[in-house]
């Protein structure tokens, strides 16, 4: 069994070394073959230089595609190299590799095709801003309307997928704000998805790519996108792009 950890990185020169080092350190005794791929999303800082210097496994996208395109590149790599499980992890060190095994456990047990690491399932975490929490709760509500299932952390980028999930995401992965939308897509394609409690950290350095002024646009767009994913035509689902 092979597992790939996809680490999208856009201008993460400050954090990426620490993130990958921590991943390698905390997965020394991982019960299966584990590899990782940093997807350098056309960074304009010296992220690539840092990656080369440390000899990390990475690809550099010649053009910036955004989080959706970058992560999808990772899924494409996973598919072409026959990985059984693909995990998404942020490049800024917010996600904690200690929970990697917990995250893929339901997949290993065959209970789910995809899993999401949720901050809000009881494990103590840092508190996000009130606005952010409100937004997340609203999204959870919209997703519940579209899938009939309850999710607590729809925006979490700490996720895992089995081969079916990988194939689905290679065919379809939203270009912007993909996390909530992909939940609906997974359900619509008849795959099981489950949340796993994890802890996350505050961003170590640099800026989060979603700033306050973009929030309103984000909420409208994501809500529409989630609803659209719910209504996606059958031919699109089968064919892909």
């Amino acid at each position: 069994m092979k597992c790939l950890v996809i680490i999208p990185a856009y201008n993460e020169a400050e954090n990426i070394a620490a993130t990958v080092d921590e991943l390698l350190a905390k997965t020394r005794s991982f019960p299966m073959e584990l590899d990782y791929l940093v997807v350098n999303d056309g960074s304009s800082d010296n992220t690539e230089a840092v990656l080369r210097e440390h000899g990390f496994h990475f690809i550099t996208l010649p053009v910036n595609l955004g989080i959706g395109g970058a992560v999808q590149s990772g899924y494409l790599y996973a598919q072409k190299n026959n990985f059984d499980i693909a995990v998404q992890m942020d490049g800024d060190g917010q996600h904690m590799p200690e929970y990697l095994l917990d995250l893929i456990q339901p997949i290993l047990e065959g209970k789910a095709a995809c899993t999401i690491g949720s901050r809000f399932l009881g494990l103590e975490s840092f508190r996000t801003s009130f606005m952010r929490r409100l937004g997340i709760r609203f999204l959870n509500f919209v997703i519940r309307c579209c899938t009939g299932k309850k999710f607590t952390d729809a925006t979490s980028g700490f996720r895992a997928a089995n081969r079916q999930g990988i194939d689905l995401f290679v065919r379809h992965y939203a270009k912007d704000f993909p996390e909530p939308e992909s939940i609906v897509r997974v359900c619509r394609n008849g795959l099981s998805i489950q949340e796993v409690p994890v802890k996350m950290r505050e961003r170590a350095a640099g800026n989060s790519s979603i700033r306050f002024f973009q929030s309103v646009y984000y909420m409208i767009k994501v809500t529409l996108a989630v609803c659209l994913a719910r209504c996606e035509s059958k031919t699109l689902m089968d064919k892909g792009e």
Partner: protein, 123 residues
Amino acid sequence: MALVLQIFAIVISVLFNIIIFQMLRKGRLELQYTLLWIFAGLAILIMSIWPQVLIGLASLLGIQVPMNAAFFLGIIFILCMLIGMTIIVSGLKNKIYRLTQVIALLEKRIEGLENKEKTHEEE
């Protein structure tokens, strides 16, 4: 507004909205670029069902004939959409240029590797 015209307007705007929705469902339209079209479609639908909205807007802008207001606002909207499209196309052009350049450089690297392989085999 004459009844025939209103019915015609409603039918057209309903069709317009349906077409947009179907294109979105089939993935032929990207949601990100279609948001304004959705807004326009809804606005047209609302104004054809309730012409008072258009009449109200016209008097607010000081336009005597309400239909002129429809033309005026319609033209402004189309100009905005076109400028938006031009910006998007410009961005895409830059991306295509960069991809072309990277592909050319990759070709050179591959040729270099193939030649290296050949000379190793010959040795």
